[in-house]
Symmetry: C3
Subunit: 200 residues, 3 copies
């Protein structure tokens, strides 16, 4: 198992936990919690694959993503107050997942013949669309649209990846650098309380 | 016309009626009611086909689904208070449709090379995604996530289908058995007021 | 640059402005406003292309749509109160865009082997789905379902196009006539305050 795959699964688990916690807060039943866990974790990659004609989507080719998401749902269902207290750990894992999902999405889109700018969109999609589905399903305005540096951390990491790729850097260190930058931008702006400008 | 096709159309009509009634309750206009009828009836199968690369989706290959959904919309528009009173009949038809949609989705996914577990997901998708779209469009938390045994009836029917298919049973009786089980689980749990566990 | 392409870009800009204004009203940040601008402008065509197997969708093949949508977002972000005052101009551009998007969607679907009725659905989808996504994302009931003659203007224009196409008319004048009819129906019913019937 490569490090990237391990981090991808870690991010999947973190995203699924955030979906399951949202479902628990909304007092959904165990099916609803599981559904939100799966959708949050794999929703972005599933839309990406469908839009690129990579069908059936990745979810149906490697069941680990599904099983891990369901595991997260069961854990949240049984121990949700304990999980809630691990807030700091969850934020770290979520930021890691964001960086990894983003750069995986970019790599897949580039290999599908989409250029740099389009691939950055697929990166943002992979990293943020699952969370948007989660928020719409529980009736909230999507978090990613309203506050904090989240999608824009993906754009920063995507710009770095594309610039280095264009300059001829090897894919492996480039992938690592991009994921680390997303993680750093996300965590730094979160700790500092920085956010994007809004309309006055 | 096979029995399965007839039951599929019956389910389509029942799903469309539930969409149209939701639109009428929300005081949408005749276009809004028609749109909700169509989306509720064919939304799940359309996403399934798109995710499997079966394009254009079934809706565009056999217009009976569209015409039947629009017929349901017109009937609800003209006689919605009468339709509302047929609650028991609608619940029966909806449960039948759920069982039929589920097993059709499973069969299609299996023939598209998706394995048993993935195909069960496509079954649930076919049976429940249209109703979720209906609920999100009228601003409600999707019914299927919050209460009652609905998606889980699909999972029960899907498990039976896959187990018997794996054991070598013929497709036709297997399809019938699975649809009947979903119908039975749905109606029994509804009458008894049974529901899945929620977070305390 | 053909006239149709110019009008398509004009419509894209108008749709993006309506998305960005909705985001500004909801006090989203600059990313949220940009996201809503892009989704409103290209959401319908993206779903159309994905459902027809035309992948990656048009958005990724001609970046002008993206850049124009982002330009609209920046303009709204900086000068939203000025933009708001241009209400009449925006309504005109939006109605033009609706007619152009509709007839482009119909042409693409017809060339993909979908028949007349299915192609009219793809027309309505191209013209209205982006706006529906905008409304769902900001937590509103989709405007197109509740009031005014909007999707039904597309259906009128689509019917004319399909009737003339069936009668053997050339595509270019036919396309123009259909777009003009949608524009006219939309503007006339808006000025007159006409709307579709609702359930009493």
């Amino acid at each position: 198992m490569t490090l990237l795959y391990f981090l991808d699964l870690l991010g999947t688990f973190a995203f699924a936990v955030s979906g399951a916690l949202a479902g628990a807060r909304k007092e959904l039943d165990i099916y609803g919690i599981s559904f939100l866990a799966v959708v949050t974790a794999v929703g972005g990659g599933t839309v990406r694959d469908t839009m690129l004609g990579r069908v059936p989507p990745f979810l149906f080719k490697d069941l680990n993503y599904l099983f891990l998401s369901l595991l997260a749902a069961v854990i949240v269902f049984l121990f949700h107050s304990h999980v809630n207290k691990k807030y700091n750990l969850l934020v770290w894992m979520d930021a890691l997942g964001l960086g990894v999902f983003n750069v995986i999405g970019i790599n897949i889109a580039l290999h599908s013949g989409v250029g740099y700018i389009g691939s950055m969109i697929f990166g943002v999609m992979t990293g943020t669309l699952g969370g948007m589905m989660r928020d719409v399903l529980i009736g909230s305005t999507p978090f990613v649209l309203t506050s904090e540096v989240y999608a824009s951390a993906c754009i920063a990491g995507g710009s770095l990846f594309c610039a280095l790729d264009y300059a001829g850097f090897a894919q492996t260190p480039n992938t690592a650098l991009s994921a680390v930058l997303v993680f750093f931008v996300r965590m730094y702006t979160l700790k500092r309380g920085l956010h994007l400008p809004r309309v006055k």
